[in-house]
């Protein structure tokens, strides 16, 4: 098993090198200019107003929040799915209880309007 992941590590390291290779090439051959307007932030051609780093709508947070909760739910289902087949009806009822409780959460978010983009 460690060998499997050794392969994955090699893939990641060599892969990062291969992605970086074109960057090295352009660093060597690409032209450079010192024309100051080129380094301005693009805002459809007019001078940029203020920073882009500012506040955004809280809606984005609500969605990522519900996402995190459901993502955690999903990690519990992976081992369940692998083992369920051999365990009989108990596995099914267990899943049913688990999902019903979580569906309550989804219904709550829905009713409270957390899934609306207003």
């Amino acid at each position: 098993m460690l060998l499997d992941w050794g392969y994955v590590a090699v893939f990641a390291i060599v892969g990062a090198g291969m992605v970086a290779l074109p960057l090295l090439i352009i660093w060597l051959i690409s032209p450079r200019s010192s024309y100051p307007q080129k380094f301005e932030t693009y805002e459809s051609g007019v001078p940029a107003i203020g920073q882009a780093w500012s506040q955004f709508n809280v809606r984005y947070y609500l969605f990522s929040l519900i996402f995190v909760v459901f993502d955690v739910e999903i990690i519990y289902l992976y081992p369940w799915a692998v083992a369920a087949r051999s365990q009989g009806a108990l596995a099914f009822y267990e899943l049913l209880v688990f999902l019903v409780i979580l569906t309550l959460g989804l219904v709550y978010a829905w009713r409270k309007g957390a899934l609306e983009w207003v």
Binding site: L23, I26, I29, S30, T41, A52, S64, A89, L106, E116
Partner: protein, 326 residues
């Protein structure tokens, strides 16, 4: 096998996959996209560079190589530069667990991990971080808005995709992709799991930010989304990430639902390629046929339609596999 031979094998496999994806998915994929869009819109598409325009993308790449490499003055240089590596690398890490075919020596796969499907979900999730880095690092309003939209969209569609993956894993009783393909020897999963297949396909389209889910780089409102500020080869690397991810999603759909390399008469690798390109054609066809969603429709569709349907599908499948099977 001695360790240096293993290392050599791993390095060679990596280089093969990376250059394969770069040439077949990115270069040829871009050309295919342009040809198909031209065909759908009754145009001709690229025609002058090489026979039938076959070398068009190569010419484009050579052009991009000579372009200036601009880092905006107000950008965050470290994050701006590292996002270029993270996005394509995370997309290409998916290919570790995709079985391309089979030979007498065993399946043709970089490494058949025990947690294959989970690994696939995890590496696709890493792309989101890269996109947020690109959007924030550019310090550009279009880029940041594109990055945030993209992240909200990708995380929303990760849930139905994960549920579809779990349904398939339940059928095979394993997370290993090779076992899942072998479990489809009698019947492809698309027959028994058409709903999961559709959910996976829709979620995959959203994960790779393609129309009708391309709000992220809605060119009429957000220029090029999170990679607006990237020039030359860096732009090309984002394209590599995007097309690499699209091919990875299609390849995963083939593996999970269309029986992977399985098929009569023709060699397995060829079957895999045929199925892969059939799905790629579907992706492109959809892109050039449908208009774009609004963001509220987009997120609502995932949470109010796909996730309830996927949950129901999982329960029904579990009933048939676990209870009725006995």
């Amino acid at each position: 096998m001695p360790w240096y031979l293993e290392l050599l094998r791993a390095v060679a496999g990596t280089i093969l996959i990376f250059s394969g994806v770069a040439v077949i998915a990115a270069m040829f994929g871009v050309l295919l996209e342009r040809k198909i869009s031209a065909w759908i819109q009754s145009r001709l598409g690229p025609k002058h560079v090489g026979p039938q325009g076959l070398l068009q993308t190569l010419a484009d790449t050579l052009k991009l190589l000579q372009k200036e490499n601009i880092v905006p003055r107000r950008a965050d240089p470290v994050i701006f530069a590292s996002a270029v590596i993270v996005v394509p690398l995370a997309a290409l890490l998916d290919y570790v667990v995709i079985p391309f075919g089979t030979t007498r020596a065993g399946p043709l796969i970089f490494r058949d991990l025990n947690i294959g499907v989970l690994y696939f979900a995890a590496t696709s999730a890493l792309v989101v971080v890269g996109i947020l880095m690109a959007g924030w690092g550019s310090n550009n309003k279009y880029a940041l808005l594109g990055g945030l939209r993209s992240a909200a969209q990708m995380v929303s569609y990760e849930i139905p995709m994960g549920l579809a993956l779990i349904t398939v894993a339940l059928l095979a009783g394993s997370l290993s992709t090779v076992t899942i393909v072998n479990a489809q020897a009698g019947l492809w999963n698309i027959v028994s799991q058409p709903v999961a297949f559709l959910i996976f396909l829709v979620a995959a389209t959203a994960e790779v930010n393609r129309t009708p889910f391309d709000l992220v780089e809605a060119e009429s409102e957000l220029v090029a989304g999170y990679f607006s500020e990237y020039t030359g080869m860096r732009f090309a690397l984002f394209q590599l990430g995007e097309y690499g991810e699209m091919f990875a999603m299609a390849a995963m759909a083939v593996t999970l639902f269309l029986g992977g390399w399985r098929g009569p008469i023709l060699p397995p690798v060829l079957w895999f390629v045929i199925k892969l390109y059939a799905l790629i054609f579907v992706f492109m066809w959809v892109r050039w046929t449908f208009p774009r969603f609004r963001i509220d429709q987009l997120l609502g569709f995932s949470w109010k339609v796909l996730i309830p349907v996927a949950l129901l599908n999982l329960v029904v499948t579990a009933f048939f596999v676990v209870v009725a099977h006995r």
